[in-house]
């Protein structure tokens, strides 16, 4: 089990009701974190339509996560 800080943005934050929380997960990749927190962020979009960062660096969904990491879950962006 790893302790991961998960941060939710925009619609994910609204759905989760918190902007971040600490969770215990059996997760080896960022995608695992996304899938295992689905009940929190509520994304009906596949991960491919969303983005992820680990410890404030943009990452791939296949990027490994370590105990103590902060994983930022970004719903589809809409700048401009």
């Amino acid at each position: 089990m790893k302790t991961i800080t998960v941060r939710y943005f925009a619609i994910f934050r609204e759905h989760a009701g918190v902007s971040q929380e600490s969770v215990e997960l059996e997760a080896s990749t960022a995608l695992d974190v996304f899938e295992q927190t689905k009940g929190r962020h509520g994304s009906p979009e596949p991960a491919a339509h969303c983005k992820v960062a680990i410890n404030d660096v943009m990452a791939a969904w296949s990027s490994p996560v370590s105990d103590g990491d902060t994983v930022l879950l970004f719903p589809p962006v809409a700048g401009g």
Binding site: S43, A53, D56, P75, P76, G79, G80
Partner: protein
Amino acid sequence: MISISNTAIPVDELRKQMAAPAAGGFCVFEGWVRNENEGREVQRLEYEVYEPLALTEGEKVLAEAQMKFPHIDAICVHRSGLLEIGDCAVWVGVSAAHRDEAFKACRYVIDEIKTRLPIWKKEHYVDGDSGWVNCERCANVAHRHTDPDTEGS
């Protein structure tokens, strides 16, 4: 240089900042808040920006533009917070020796900014409803459980 601003973008000052005696072409793109989106009347708009990564990713975009179009100078400012109809949400200015590079670099920057930076736009409609742009289906499934097949995009 990219920055995020919580207040009105100072377009006139930004233009003056870009003055350069060797520049012959200057291209600006501004994104304005429209009163309508996909058939719904918009009243105001709210930008949520995750600033640390918006800045690093934005600087990457500008560096890429400078690799593709050497000798350009570029500035980008993106708003955060609440915006009204007509407000400038994003400003991209590019100066270059000639117009071709100015146009192409400006277009490159705004296209990448729109799809890569962690920025989200919530529209507040005249009818009192609201929704996150690009995330209509999320919004609907999460909160209203309507059929995703009936949604636009």
